[in-house]
């Protein structure tokens, strides 16, 4: 085993989102054993793509300080047994490295994070990265009733009516605008109010202008296609009386929340909504426009 004197190895367990990730500094024999187990193997294996941004275990990140090591870059990562770094994409010589390192009896156990943490980390580690499409019963029903003809919208919010339909505070104080933008304000949000530019009349022109002031993006030519970023919403108006919004979900179908009533994926005729332009909208006879909600960019009240 090659000995790497004078070096420290900083290891970050890339697992949390809001909390700081656990960090461990290895020196001496522990560092030597770790680097030996991490030595890149020449065994031919199918190399997966590098882990991208998702919630859960995303691998172990390493930073080498001190003298450089010939076969490892100064910063690299291991995920699912494979090393990723600059000019590095190879399996580690010890395929069980992550299991050993992250176990309570391994180096990570030294941080005293508790058995529950190690059990949870092991469960996360055994999971594959999400591929999208995790929906509830209604989401599955949408797929059974015709998904496949419509493109999926990976950036769109899930159809999760149970979250909105609590029969209380959340349901009664969040309207179609809240639901379509996926933004709970508990204020029965009005387009433009947050930016001091609330609509003056209940017309397409005024309500759309209010939404633009809230930083929604007008996409009149979206033609029911998912945007590359954010998600698609649609504005309709009952001229002179009210406005209403729909949102396009991950399955490509649309859903909406009429006022303080329950969120639903059905139109006034009881049908699923592949396109709000052709849905039974009752008195909301004016289809105004498609718009895009960039997550985190808008502010409504």
């Amino acid at each position: 085993m090659e000995v790497l004197r004078g070096m420290a190895l900083i290891v970050t367990v890339d697992v949390f989102s809001g909390r700081p990730n656990p960090v461990l500094v290895l020196e001496g024999r522990e560092e030597q054993e770790t680097l030996a187990r991490l030595r890149p193997s020449r065994q031919p294996v199918k190399i997966p793509s590098a882990p991208e941004s998702f919630l859960g275990y995303r691998g172990l990140r390493f930073e080498l300080t001190g003298r450089a090591r010939a076969n490892l870059p100064p910063a690299f990562r291991i995920y699912d047994g494979v090393l990723f770094g600059e000019d590095l994409r190879a399996p580690a010589s010890d395929p069980g490295f992550e299991a050993w390192f992250t176990s309570q009896g391994g180096p990570l156990g030294r941080l005293g994070l508790g058995r529950a943490f190690h059990e949870r980390l092991e469960a996360w580690r055994m999971r594959k990265p999400p591929e999208g499409g995790d929906g509830d019963d209604d989401d599955r029903r949408e797929r059974q009733e015709g998904h496949g003809k419509r493109g999926r919208c990976e950036c769109a919010p899930m159809y999760e009516p149970a979250w909105w339909n609590d029969g209380g505070q959340r349901q009664w104080n969040n309207n179609c605008y809240n639901y379509s933008t996926n933004y709970r304000s508990d204020t029965f949000a009005q387009p433009g109010l947050a930016s001091g530019a609330m609509y003056a009349t209940l017309s397409c022109k005024d309500v759309r202008a209010g939404a633009v002031a809230d930083d929604l993006i007008a996409e009149p030519k979206a033609n029911n296609r998912c945007p590359k970023e954010g998600h698609l919403v649609a504005l309709v108006v009952a001229p002179g009386y009210d406005f209403h919004w729909y949102r396009k979900g991950r399955t490509g179908y649309w859903s909406h929340k009429p006022g303080g009533t329950q969120a639903t994926n059905r139109d006034n005729s009881g049908n699923l909504i592949p396109d709000p332009r052709t849905a039974d909208r009752g008195p909301y006879v004016d289809f105004c426009t498609f718009m895009v909600v960039m997550h985190g960019h808008i502010k409504i009240a």
Binding site: D242, H256, P258, G259, G282, P283
Partner: protein, 111 residues
């Protein structure tokens, strides 16, 4: 006109479930009309059979709240107070409530 779901203090309040983006409207009604609707309710026979389901958009029914907090809702021939459901074949309860709305508060509603 109020805009909350709570009864206006000390009086009878009517309302309609009709909007999506705007808050649904409520309005005070005369005491005499409140008592008339209560008498009408007392005379209605029990409901049996499938209940009508309002559509998601547009008119979804009306409501009445008494000063003591009791609340009725009506849609088509169905009138409900708490767990008690009754049939109003002529939809008189619903018509009286909707007819009591001040001008301009509601969109055109055909009953």
């Amino acid at each position: 006109m109020g805009t909350s779901r709570s009864p206006e203090t000390g009086g009878w309040t009517a309302g309609a479930s009709v909007y999506s983006g705007r808050r649904d409207p409520t309005w005070p009604i005369p005491v005499e009309l409140g008592f008339r609707l209560e008498r009408l309710w007392n005379q209605l026979p029990p409901w049996s059979g499938a209940r009508p389901r309002p559509p998601p958009l547009g008119y979804r029914g009306c409501s009445l709240v008494a000063p003591d907090g009791r609340e009725w809702t009506a849609f088509q021939e169905l009138v409900i107070q708490a767990v008690d459901a009754r049939r109003d074949r002529d939809r008189e309860f619903e018509r009286l409530v909707i007819a009591s709305a001040p001008p301009g508060i509601l969109p055109p509603i055909s009953l």
